[in-house]
């Protein structure tokens, strides 16, 4: 009997071992006029204005269009529903000339009324949405004025430089949703139970089928306005399908099984894919670094440390530049990249990603990984091991000991924490690592401020003003000391001023200087000590034509075709 079992086990192992060795098979993706991709989760709504998660935004990304969109190559706004625009001398009135001959998927003409209606929906107090606060200028909503069916004026209280980067929100059809906005039922419109043909946009694709937890299917909009250089109709592909695959491992298996045209591999899959590129008929492109940031930050909020007039010593350490610099010198970013990203990453220096070429400040000198320098800085700050127990004490004799947290279950952040803990222990700092459940972490960051050090990350876009909530001292995401009435330090006041000036400056070249200055201040004062950025890759079938992925999105996705 034992022999039988051993044989059976061998058979299973052999079968599993041959996984992927299956030769060729028929590539069903190759025939047909259809692009198949995967997404990690179900959309929560088909109403683009109500979406608060990337899956929902992505799900109708090709169905709706804004006035402008980001060109991922130039990283500048390019015309979509607005064919051109200009602003007056003061920069407070912008005139958008809308593209003529554009129709909604149901045949109704697209006009300036639709744009005015969309603005109205954005600023409606009954409609919670993430566009509203971005478009509030000096605390006031923008006003619109329809000049003629293809011209609309947008007026704001003061010049607003981020306008073109912020005004790309999806335009909605007034003839279909106008009544709902009046009735106050707008927030219940276009939920995921809506029949797909009722979701009407102007975009290159119409939604034709949604099967929850399975797929989203789109068909070409035959009357789409965009043409290629030769005057040919766009989009080139008749269909698009997005498979909903909630597990990343399964997504990878599906890509290996030739069920997907494109896939964003995780670092550990890259070498495997590279080896098998030929067999799988794929190309593996390095598309760039993460656009967001990943950092360690220390709590500088007296609300947590000052009780009954007595300040906890930690407040003094965490606001001490010497302490922050010592930490900055103790980050072994090479090991971090090796251990978390399998070598595919770069040390991060600035809060703005180098991929954001327009605003990234390349002149910042990185803090080198140098434990001796860190020790010297701690000594200078009078943190010494006074009792010989291996842990440094401050001048008052309090041992340097604090908690380091991050959200539990995020493997990258957990590994970063363990590397930091190791190095900080060498410096004579005692760290208690404590991963936190996400809701607990949020509670600590926004309600009771009961934390010491935290590894956090944020996604980032091209528009630097989008981080205002984080950078401004009065912002609720100004984590190290949120919601300040007046800036607590001169450098926070300076950042506030630069942010305000940057938002008002319409000359792009002058505008950049404000954000360079902010990066400089952040780099000097170290409220967020930057860690690493992952190198992103995209694997795609080599027979896809004009598929140009970037970290900012796919460049001109209308042009993608399949080489027969």
């Amino acid at each position: 009997m034992t022999r039988g079992l051993v044989l059976a086990a061998c058979a299973v192992v052999a079968l599993v071992g041959t996984a992927g060795c299956r030769k060729g098979g028929e590539d069903r993706l190759r025939r047909g006029d259809r692009l198949v991709t995967a997404t990690i989760s179900d959309p929560k709504t088909f109403n683009p204005l109500l979406s608060v998660d990337s899956a929902s935004t992505e799900a109708v990304g090709d169905v709706f269009e804004g006035l402008v969109r980001l060109n991922p190559k130039t990283k500048l706004p390019e015309p979509v529903l607005a064919a051109s625009w200009e602003h007056d001398e003061a920069g407070t009135t912008w005139t958008f000339h809308l593209r003529e001959g554009v129709t909604w998927h149901d045949g109704a003409p697209f006009t300036a009324d639709d744009v005015a209606f969309s603005f109205e929906a954005v600023f409606d107090p009954q409609v919670p949405n993430s566009v509203k606060h971005v478009l509030m200028v000096a605390g006031q909503p923008m006003r619109t004025e329809v000049v003629d069916p293809h011209t609309i004026k947008v007026m704001m209280a003061e010049p607003f430089a981020p306008l073109l980067n912020s005004i790309g929100f999806d335009i909605l059809p007034k003839h279909l949703l106008g009544q709902a906005l009046k009735d106050g039922t707008f927030t219940q419109t276009w939920g995921i139970d809506t029949p797909p043909e009722k979701i009407v946009g102007t975009g290159p694709y119409r939604l034709v089928r949604y099967v929850p937890a399975q797929l989203l299917q789109y068909a070409r909009n035959p009357t789409y306005w965009m043409r290629d250089e030769a005057g040919g109709a766009l989009p080139r592909l008749a269909e698009r399908t997005s498979l909903i695959v909630p597990d990343q491992n399964t997504m990878y298996l599906k890509f290996l099984d030739r069920q997907l045209h494109t896939y964003s591999p995780r670092p550990e899959e890259i070498d495997d894919l590279r080896k098998r590129a030929e067999e799988l008929e794929i190309t593996l492109d390095k598309i760039g670094l993460d656009t967001g940031m990943l950092f360690v930050t220390f709590n500088r909020n007296p609300a947590h440390y000052v009780k009954d007039g007595k300040a906890d010593p930690r407040l003094a350490w965490f606001t001490d530049p010497k302490f922050a610099q010592a930490i900055a010198h103790s980050l072994d970013k090479r090991s971090m990249i090796q251990n978390t990203y399998f070598g595919y990453g770069e040390p991060a220096v600035s809060a703005i990603s180098p991929e954001n070429t327009a605003y990234y400040n390349p002149d910042l000198a990185p803090y080198a990984y140098d434990l001796d320098a860190a020790r010297r800085l701690l000594d200078e700050g009078d943190y010494r091991d006074r009792d010989g127990d291996g842990v440094r004490e401050d001048a008052q004799g309090h041992p340097l000991e604090f908690e380091l947290s991050t959200n539990a279950g995020n493997q990258v952040r957990e590994r970063l924490c363990s590397i930091m803990k190791e190095d900080w222990t060498k410096l004579g700092i005692k760290v208690n690592y404590r991963p936190l459940d996400f809701t607990t972490l949020v509670e600590k960051l926004s309600t009771n401020f009961d934390w010491d050090a935290m590894v956090m990350g944020f996604t980032g876009g091209v528009e630097p003003h989008a981080s205002a909530n984080l950078l401004r001292s009065s912002g609720n995401l100004h984590m190290w000391r949120p919601n300040q009435q007046t800036p607590a330090t001169p450098w926070e006041a300076e950042i506030d001023r630069e942010l305000a000036a940057g938002a008002r400056e319409l000359d792009p070249r002058k505008r950049v200087t404000h954000y360079w200055k902010i990066q400089e201040i952040l780099h000097r004062e170290l409220p967020m000590i930057q860690l690493v950025r992952q190198q992103r890759f995209i694997a795609a079938k080599s027979y896809l034509v004009d598929f140009v992925p970037t970290v900012w999105g796919i460049y001109e996705p209308e042009r993608i075709a399949i080489r027969p």
């Binding site: 919670p128 949405n129 509203k132 995921i192 937890a213 399975q214 695959v245």
Partner: protein
Amino acid sequence: MARFVLLRMAQMVPLLIGITFLSFVVVDLAPGDFFDTLSMNPSISPDMIREMKQEFGYGQPLPVRYGRWLWRVAHLDLGMSIAYRVGVLDLIESRAANTVVLAVASMTFSWALAIPIGIVVALRRGTLLDRSLSFVAFFGMSVPSFFLAFLLMYLALATGWFPVGGTTSLDYPILSPMEKIGDRLAHLVLPVIVLGTGGMASLMRLMRSQLLEIQSADYVRTARAKGVPEWIVVSKHILRNALNPFVTLAGYELGTLLGGAALVEAVMNLQGLGTLMLDAVRSLDLYLVMGSVLMSSVLLLLGNLLADVALTLVDPRIDFSHLEAVR
């Protein structure tokens, strides 16, 4: 009998109120709420979160909110999911069919295999067959289902015998009706094996031990001594008497019909309620969680009731009429 059923139905109401109230309190006591994730998103302002909280009735005291929910439920309105802004019933409905298909198929698989195998191993107790099948059963009970799922998916990838994940293939809408059925069945095979294995293994062990116990009962020995043919002994005396726990179990399984299997659904990319509900619990989408709690409780209680009724039919020794007499 009718009175007994009515009585039990009436008892369900306070029980359901108790269950849902406790769940409501537990979700409420859990640290944070649905809006926490949103508050860490730089593109979402605190004002927006305030507006949303107001929209969904947050900020009122717990008994008021529970009372309102209960009132709506009494009118067959399970409320709206916060994440989806869609009625909870509609959300559940959109995935229920496939969940039921999956659950029924895997239950059929496990019962259809477990019972005959259980009988065979019990009758051949101690033989090589018994020991090897028992080994398989223990393996089936102990292997984590998601691991088995990955194992089988690798197998599917390596051999191409079965589709790798999903409920239907891409071209499903353009297939002929027969091909559609075939496509569905092909996609069902691996999930059913994964979901049915654990249940099959424990059912088989239960069947085996039941039979072994009854085999040594006096009436079985008497029957054999009387010279009753073996197949009648087994079918009439042993099996009939071994049935009771299985009737009860079947009732319980009704309660899990709409429960879904979140992990396996996620790994095998199946359409089902499990992932929806797991996400709801994780993100503290209150009314969606409550909807699922209510649904499973009702099914469980109904399943229990059905099992009890069925027991009186199967086993004449069980009689609930005395309960009525006591009242």
